[in-house]
Symmetry: C2
Subunit: 344 residues, 2 copies
């Protein structure tokens, strides 16, 4: 895809404002980590791998011009702020903790060298995510027939990552192999990542896409129009329970009912072996205005009560396979995921 989700350039973090897509392609430039935290919180950038990269770059911005104890104070303030922006995606904590280990190992450096070291690590996280998506895509592509009709939810594409995408990376890799793939994209309320972002990305790559309301996925599955479901994940627990955009769990239930494989595209950075199962994954609640307003206009009675969880948990028993950059994990996931995550 031609447009970059996020980029480090000339001492600043640049990202496309995903709230305005597909209507407008506006690039935001940040030099202050607090602005980066705000961008993550308000979903200028979203997608677990992408916000991991953004947080790492934010940390690099935060310690610029400092060293020693002043740098440590800055690092800690930034790490806490960035980690707290969105609780569900583990990539955020994963990236910040990785930056923290480099920081501790580099504390003897002067300000300029410390900054360079941290900046390089953030860029490495970006580049590794891109490479991981490519590898993950290659492994996943082998699962697709040709022709294949794939149903996806939310946006696990280039816009959710450093580039290329996880679920959409699998689709892209299959297309690169010459397979004929068409996609059903759930619009994904309330933020409409499916109709706004996934459809936009796929059309840029000339991959056929049909958008449906989330509630229509069941009709499409029932009509036998879907060969497999592929989704991303914000955090996958050690036992294979998958936290992902709300609406993923009902899709998995329906895929099972209609004997359609349910695949999760999960870079290792989103697999959290510290988390035994899905019950331990914190589920973010988003502002009620996401459901009561649209473009600032009211679409519900004033003051109505709202429940707006951003994610749900799909139990491992409904997951056919988890696709990672090191290969495909099958049940029992506690064993297969631990094996794939083992340092090599």
């Amino acid at each position: 895809m031609a447009v970059k989700t996020i980029e480090w350039r000339a001492g600043s973090v640049r990202m496309i404002d995903q709230r305005l897509l597909p209507g407008r392609e506006v690039i935001r430039t940040y030099r202050d980590y607090r602005r980066v935290a705000e961008a993550i919180r308000t979903m200028v950038i979203r997608g677990a791998p992408a916000i991991g990269v953004a947080a790492a770059m934010g940390v690099a911005l935060a310690i610029r011009g400092t060293s020693g104890q002043r740098a440590r104070a800055r690092f800690e303030r930034a790490a806490n702020l960035l980690k707290a922006t969105r609780p569900t995606a583990v990539n955020l904590a994963w990236a910040v903790d990785r930056m923290g280990r480099v920081f501790e190992a580099s504390l003897a450096l002067d300000a300029a060298h410390l900054y360079r070291r941290m900046r390089d690590e953030a860029i490495a996280i970006y580049q590794e995510d891109l490479a991981a998506n490519r590898m993950l895509g290659r492994h996943g592509a082998a699962l697709l027939t040709s022709p294949a009709s794939v149903l996806t939810h939310c946006n696990a594409g280039a816009l959710a990552t450093a580039g290329y995408g996880t679920a959409l990376g699998v689709i892209r890799a299959a297309c690169e192999d010459g397979k004929e793939v068409r996609v059903f994209a759930d619009e994904t309320r309330p933020f409409l990542q499916g109709s706004r972002l996934t459809a936009w990305e796929l059309r840029k790559d000339r991959i056929p896409v049909t958008i449906i309301a989330d509630s229509m996925a069941a009709s499409v599955l029932r009509a036998g129009q879907v060969d497999c479901v592929i989704v991303g994940t914000d955090r996958t627990a050690a036992n294979g329970d998958v936290a992902n955009k709300v609406g993923t769990y009902p899709l998995a239930v329906l895929a099972r009912r209609h004997h359609v494989p349910f695949y999760v595209a999960a870079p290792l950075s989103s697999i959290d072996l510290e988390c035994a199962n899905g019950d331990q994954i914190p589920i973010e609640q988003r502002p009620s205005t996401e459901l009561t307003e649209f473009g600032g206009k009211p679409i519900a009675p004033k003051g109505v009560e709202v429940f707006n969880p951003a994610f749900d948990v799909t139990p491992a028993e409904l997951v056919t396979a988890i696709i990672t950059e090191r290969g495909i994990a099958y049940p029992p996931f506690d064993e297969s995921l631990a094996t794939l995550k083992r340092p090599r």
Copy 2:
């Protein structure tokens, strides 16, 4: 509820424009049946029983000032136009056919008397629907515990009927009995009947309501926060297969998975014994702009493909009971529905 969905007044049909709720309460007045047909098609008025009443009133408008063969030509033109506006709800054909029987029996009358007869029949359909809702509500209320948490989809309320409502009629009747009922309302994409209409109605009646995106119903069910699901229907087949607003079928699948009863509130006018099963129910496709635009603003890439079925079919095996104005039908539905529909 204080606001009237539809009303015959001074030789015209008046209805509240449901596209503008809850923001604005605008009453439309129609004296031409073609405007009534357009109002049904564009969803100024919606809900199977309500559009049945609207079509009956439209037929009365159509034949005004005519008699004999001129009246017949007018009747046929109006009947065809009105029946074609929305194919899934059987109430439309049911009401127009009932008007047709009265018309045939009254053809010897002069224009003034014919018109009065047809107008009175349309008003009778309106009043009978209101009475049926009340009775249906009474029967259904017995199924609810106190306190009860009810999940509903779309709007099967006063706004979908002559007044009072079917699914919401059950909730209203339970509240009138002093039961403590709270409601989860799916927002119901793309038209947002849940957040715009159901929430608005229930708040007017001070019944506690929480709105959720359609994709969040699974989370609420899984968390054990729902005692039963109650929905309306646009057409229920002889075997108990239920056509209703798209998103009903996945709800039924999830209710079953979580051992939650799934009830359908179905006035007899929406039960179509001529239809053996759900496969024979035509499913209306709505314009793609319902998914690609919001308030005239694009929310998807230009020219993207869209699949927008307005309804889905829930197989009878997932339905716990069907609530009618003559009592509650349990499986096997082919027997219980036929018994309830039998003329008395």
